[in-house]
């Protein structure tokens, strides 16, 4: 455990009144290992350790807390602060002044977009709203069947592509016809795509340009490793991301990638996927995530 490792580092620090550059150096090494083990990005880790060092230097070691405890508290608090958006409302879905409100989901292949789309629809329905699902993945075999099955399960209208329609077309038609189909919030499920696939990035950028969705969310797998920041930065450069969804958080992955992404892009984490079920969507809690990352 990180706490024990850091306590060990400071075991010989009895009687020294302050945390100094020298004595926190070894503790910072332990923190670094913990963060990398948790899949926090190498660069993000560096910057984070700098912040912790600044906060730790010169800290008085009181009689009530050991130097190790002071150190761990600084790390924990700093992590929570970076996971908490400055604007308290940043982690909530935004609704358009005039319906329909649009939620565009984007991300790499297999991250959980389709499942999350349906979960969001159920979430909104339980909140008294009238969501509709748009099946805009024309790439993956049986993607439309998958979303249609989920839509039926939660009893929400679904817009499926008509012959000859591309992803943008089905989204445009859904926007045009949703109000008469009793849906005033549309969740656009899109195909998984690589951030380096120019054609696919153009496709989703066009959906954004033509429809200006109020919410654009990057769906991120909790087990993502060092590649997370590359991917997120590229998506954020083409789409003004408004939120992140962390999926498969019911696994035992520490989830450091989502910390890297939010700290590098400034995009707030809004939801966590915590099971395969339609009810498996929770709001994001910074303090829980901080403890999880630190292991």
């Amino acid at each position: 455990q990180l706490t024990e490792k850091i306590q060990k580092v400071f075991k010989n620090l009895r009687g020294q009144g302050k945390l100094t550059e020298e004595n926190i150096q070894e503790a910072l090494k332990q923190v670094r290992l913990a963060l990398l083990e948790a899949d926090v990005n190498v660069e993000t880790t560096k910057l984070f350790l700098e912040r912790v060092k600044v906060k730790a230097l010169g800290k008085e070691v009181s009689l009530s807390l050991s130097p190790g405890q002071v150190m761990v508290k600084i790390v924990h608090d700093e992590l929570i602060q970076l996971l908490t958006p400055k604007d308290k409302n940043a982690n909530k879905l935004k609704f358009a002044p005039a319906p329909p409100t649009l939620i565009l989901l984007a991300g790499l292949q297999g991250t959980g977009k389709t499942t999350t789309a349906a979960k969001l629809a159920l979430w909104l329905k339980k909140d008294g709203r009238r969501p509709g699902l748009v099946a805009a993945d024309l790439v993956r075999p049986a993607a439309i069947d998958q979303l249609a099955t989920l839509a039926k399960e939660i009893d929400v209208p679904i817009f499926k592509p008509e012959p000859g329609e591309k992803a943008l077309d089905v989204c445009l038609r859904a926007v045009k016809t949703c109000l008469q189909n009793n849906a005033n919030i549309l969740i656009l499920d899109t195909a998984g795509r690589l951030q380096i696939d120019e054609d696919m990035m153009k496709e989703i950028a066009e959906i954004h340009q033509k429809l200006k969705p109020t919410n654009i969310m990057l769906v991120v797998d909790a087990m993502t490793g060092q590649n997370a920041v590359n991917v997120a930065q590229a998506f954020h450069a083409r789409l003004p991301l408004t939120g992140l969804v962390l999926t498969k958080a019911d696994g035992d992955a520490r989830g450091g990638a989502i910390f890297s992404i939010t700290s590098v892009t400034g995009v707030p984490i809004q939801f966590m996927g915590v099971s395969e079920k339609m009810e498996g969507l929770e709001p994001f809690y910074p303090d829980r995530m901080a403890s999880r990352i630190l292991g």
């Binding site: 998958q146 099955t149 060092q226 590649n227």
Partner: protein, 276 residues
């Protein structure tokens, strides 16, 4: 003294960071950096080409710990397992196409009876690969569908079964038990037929891949890994740690979403891709 190149702290740190950035993990990265540091001491010049060569050798030596003179057994049951969204179903289709082109009589078994449209997705892949598929009722017990697929296939001369299973998180005990049941059923239905049990792993996965491999391996003795989504920017360096720590060999690499986007694992090329 013949060679005596001493690498600077900055160079060593930079090396470690670039290896960690490939998802190799800091333990493996630090071990490799120490080895390269020692190797460079026997060199006369701090030449960057030499550095790259030693780095690649350190990576390759770990990848070569697992046998690379492998051929697909005949007959064989290939079981694909792994966490949600890793690429199992797509890989099943790709393998079916490849083994069928190799002259095998292939049968796909739709062992995922749980997720929405799972069977439809595999059916589309069977049609693309032009191979037979056996599926059951959605929601039926996976072991029952797998049993029927094997029995049916064996009576029709199938010599290569590819069994797709539902994605599952390795920390879900009940789902791991379900998988063990599928493995037992394969042994019952096709006794004596060699089994390949492959963990399908997304190259984007970080250190959690170690937990995944350990858990799946403990429950069903994996015989290999298929690493997917290498057409993206993730490097998949975690397989270096998996080869060294668990002795798990990589058999194939997924390099795209198309039927043909699968290549055999080649350690030397992989080491060069990790250390360009």
């Amino acid at each position: 003294l013949k060679g005596s190149v001493k690498l600077s702290e900055a160079t060593l740190a930079q090396m470690e960071e670039s290896l960690v950035a490939c998802d190799m993990g800091s333990e493996t990265a630090q071990a490799i950096v120490r080895e390269v540091e020692e190797a460079m001491k026997r060199e006369e010049k701090a030449d960057s080409d030499l550095l790259v060569r030693h780095l690649r050798e350190a990576v390759l030596k770990r990848l070569l710990k697992t046998d690379s003179n492998w051929v697909l057994p005949n007959p064989v049951v290939v079981l694909l397992v792994g966490v949600n969204g890793a690429g199992k179903t797509t890989t099943a289709g790709k393998l079916a196409s490849r083994f069928s082109s190799d002259g095998r009589k292939v049968l796909l078994a739709a062992g995922d009876t749980f997720r929405a449209a799972a069977e439809e997705q595999l059916t589309e892949w069977a049609s693309r690969a032009k191979v037979e598929i056996v599926r059951g009722a959605h929601g039926a017990a996976p072991s029952a569908v797998v049993f029927d697929s094997l029995k049916s296939g064996l009576s029709h001369g199938t010599d290569c079964f590819i069994v797709d299973t539902a994605g599952r998180l390795h920390n879900r005990q009940n789902l791991m038990e379900e998988l063990k049941k599928v493995v037992r059923v394969v042994e019952k239905a096709a006794p004596g037929v060699k089994q390949e049990k492959w963990l399908v792993l997304d190259a984007n996965t970080g250190q959690n891949a170690i937990n995944q491999a350990k858990e799946f391996n403990r429950e069903m003795e994996l015989t290999g890994i298929v690493l997917t989504k290498l057409d993206g920017t993730a490097k998949g360096g975690i397989v270096v740690a998996l080869s060294e720590q668990l002795g798990l060999p990589v058999r194939y690499l997924g390099v795209g979403e198309g039927l043909e986007d699968l290549i055999p694992f080649e350690p030397k090329m992989f080491a060069e891709a990790l250390v360009p």
